[in-house]
């Protein structure tokens, strides 16, 4: 529970065929850990974007590690389209579970509660219903003539994110990014990288305890400075927009992507 390990030991928890939940770009994305996972090459991953992703999912897709991608969108934001996702989705290179943000979040909340499904408004009449045979429309059992969509619970094998700090007892500060807690509650294992590990318990006073994910839900923690780079980390540092733009340019071709990734994984070895 909340064990402090090396980055490579943390990455070893992601194995062939697992489902892996990843957070939205601004909540804290574990990019250094992504490089460490890519170096170990787990196959047939089922990537679940909570509820969208960017460069992180694009890299895992480009490396051919994703058999399934469940997402509401993959984009590099200001830097434009996510090139490896766009190419692979266009040609049907992986199984795409096309979603809409609140439906994925509702599925995760069902997982958190240990119930089999969650109802959600909207969606009826969208082609997403055709793209998602695992979603259903039921009648509201408490009112007549009220059709509503239900989505199945999402219980990822592993959740992975990056946060500013953890204490040595394994508690992690997640601030107001409460979907990270939902991910951890619903997942069988949660892997967290942090900028720093502090000696004092985050639960020691009420003020610091708010916005903390307790060690109960945390499987392993690894300390990595600048662990979200080239993305930013809330309250800590901004995204490296020039680097993301460089990725966007290079990853347009498979060869360019391969060259970029070689540098990306090597950089990790230099820091580790």
């Amino acid at each position: 529970m909340g064990e402090i390990v090396s980055l490579d030991e943390l990455a070893a928890n992601v194995r062939d065929g697992m489902s892996l939940a990843l957070p939205i770009d601004h909540s804290g994305v574990a990019m250094a850990a992504t490089a460490a996972i890519i170096a170990r090459r787990p196959r047939n991953l089922h990537i679940i974007c909570m509820p969208t992703s960017g460069i992180q999912a694009d890299m895992l897709i480009g490396e051919g590690l994703a058999a399934t991608v469940e997402t509401s969108a993959v984009t590099l934001g200001e830097a434009g389209a996510a090139p490896r996702f766009t190419e692979a989705a266009r040609s049907g290179a992986f199984r795409l579970m096309e979603a809409t943000c609140p439906a994925t979040l509702a599925g995760l909340i069902a997982g958190q509660k240990g119930v089999p499904f969650m109802p959600i408004r909207g969606i009826i009449g969208s082609d997403l219903m055709k793209a998602r045979p695992d979603w259903a429309v039921i009648n509201n059992p408490f009112a007549p003539d009220d059709s509503i969509v239900v989505v199945p619970a999402i219980c990822p094998d592993v959740s992975l994110f990056h946060a500013p700090e953890a204490d040595r007892f394994g508690n992690v500060r997640i601030g107001r990014n409460t979907e990270l807690a939902t991910m951890a509650y619903a997942s069988k294992a949660t892997l967290v990288t942090v900028e720093r590990i502090i000696e004092t318990s985050l639960l020691a006073d009420e003020q610091s305890a708010a916005g903390v994910l307790p060690a109960l839900y945390v499987t392993a923690i690894a300390q990595v400075t600048q662990g979200a780079w080239p993305l930013g980390l809330w309250g800590e540092y901004e995204a490296d927009t020039a680097e993301i733009a460089r990725y966007a340019r290079m990853a347009k071709s498979q060869d360019g992507f391969a060259a970029y990734m070689q540098g990306f994984v090597q950089r990790l070895k230099a820091v580790a």
Partner: protein, 250 residues
């Protein structure tokens, strides 16, 4: 020194502020500088005119986001009816206000692939005043029928309190009639004729015999936009503000 007339983008921003008139809480997507500018303009103008306070949430922003409950809060907040207005775009938008954010061709194998539907398949149903905004006005965007319906313009037989309020493009402003499921051309922007709009639109719509020109911002609005609002906007979208100022100077 005379005041320079409003640029095309300033007209779009001022039109959005007018379309938002009366809203109290408006949400704006992460990469949407023009809608954000329109919302900030309304907020500033309402303050001066002593009208209702406008709250703005810019998704993905740290400074312009008062939510504290993570990614789910916008959707929960909208589901409770607390979000009055939101903006949606689309790679394709059709004459029945269906929007496509997924791609063209035979799904799942597509000719062109876009990022995905984001929250559209929910927010379009629950936010009362959804403003469809797409600067590019061309037959490839405004099609007769979208290839993939990320979210439909109208629905029957389900609970739905939200939907399209207007469609604003780089050329014109349309209203939408939910009963008839049809757009109506309200105005064309300065320098654009009704014939130009017709030629660039791939769907049928209603139009008056004489199409008025989109209203230009008054002096007070323009001064606010060029002053306070540009400053606020620069905190969120520095690159966009650079482009806006270059256009003003041109």
């Amino acid at each position: 020194m005379s005041v320079r007339p409003a640029t095309q983008r300033e007209i779009l921003i001022a039109t959005i502020a007018d379309l938002l008139s009366g809203v109290r809480t408006v949400a704006v997507g992460a990469s949407s500088p023009i809608p954000a500018a329109g919302a900030m303009l309304l907020r500033a103008r309402n303050e001066i005119r002593g009208r209702e306070r406008v709250r703005i949430v810019v998704l993905g922003s740290r400074e312009h986001n008062f939510f504290t409950n993570g990614a789910v809060e916008l959707f929960d907040c909208a589901a409770q009816g607390r979000i009055d207005a939101f903006f949606l775009g689309g790679g394709q938008i059709d004459g029945q206000a269906n929007i496509n954010l997924v791609g063209t061709g035979d799904y799942p194998v597509s000719t062109v692939r876009w990022p995905g539907s984001f929250g559209s398949a929910f927010l379009y149903y629950v936010v009362p005043r959804v403003i469809l905004f797409r600067e590019e006005h061309s037959p490839r965007v405004f099609v007769d029928k979208v290839d993939f319906v990320s979210a439909p313009g109208t629905s029957e037989g389900i609970v739905r309190n939200g939907g399209p309020h207007a469609l604003l493009t780089g050329m014109a402003l349309f209203g939408f009639d939910k009963t008839r499921k049809r757009f109506d051309l309200r105005s064309a922007h300065r320098g654009v004729s009704a014939v130009d709009v017709k030629a660039a639109t791939g769907f049928d719509y209603d139009a008056p015999a004489s199409v008025p020109m989109t209203a230009e911002p008054d002096a007070e609005t323009l001064a606010l936009l060029r002053g306070r609002v540009t400053g606020e906007l620069a905190e969120c979208y520095p690159q966009f503000v650079g482009a806006l100022e270059a256009e003003r100077a041109a």
